[in-house]
Amino acid sequence: MSLAKPAMRGLLGKRLRFHLPIAFALSLVAAAAFKYGVTEPRKQAYADFYKQYDATKEFNNMREAGIFQSVRPTGE
């Protein structure tokens, strides 16, 4: 009955040396995934929308629909 003496010291250090690099790597992956999966497509969508955006045309369409209080549709 002679088992090896178990590790008595450095347990936290050993755990950190193992888990911290993994934690950092996974966090970076999560951040990169969000950036390239969400924020970049969103920025592109906004850029594409405003490339072809005619503010005056949209305003007139909204005015005719009658949603404004300051300008009524043409002909009223």
Binding site: R42, F49, E58, M62, A65, I67
Partner: protein, 159 residues
Amino acid sequence: MLATRALSLVGKRAISTSICVRGGHGVAKVDDYNPLPDVQFVTELSAEQRSLKEKEKGSWATLSNEEKIALYRISFKQSFAEMNEGTKEWKSVIAGMFFFIGMTGLVVLWQRKFVYGPVPSTFESEWKEKEVQRMLDMRINPVEGFSAKWDYENKEWKK
């Protein structure tokens, strides 16, 4: 002084054990004799068990496996496996959960019918149609959200 106090405790313990012999299982007040070990499970030994206890005083290599198990059963009520095994209690727990969730569902249905008044007029389909049309007119979320899904040329939802 400590030795005599310990010995007197052992003396009291022997008396308590003999009371147990009359009383059957589990009558000993074990708390008084903490930290001494518990009383053995079988207190009235049969002749066979008593002879086995005598054999135990010799070399244990001579004991067969059945005898070792018999000695264990004299000292202890259950093996570790028997002691640690789970019960079937979880089935009752799950059954109880479903029953009470069902009862709650009935209560909620009754409430909906007999307690709550009618829903506001703003939930009628006519009102909702006008609401959606006004949201599209106002160009709510035109880039990625609500109005982005509406085709203004053909006046229908985008496919």
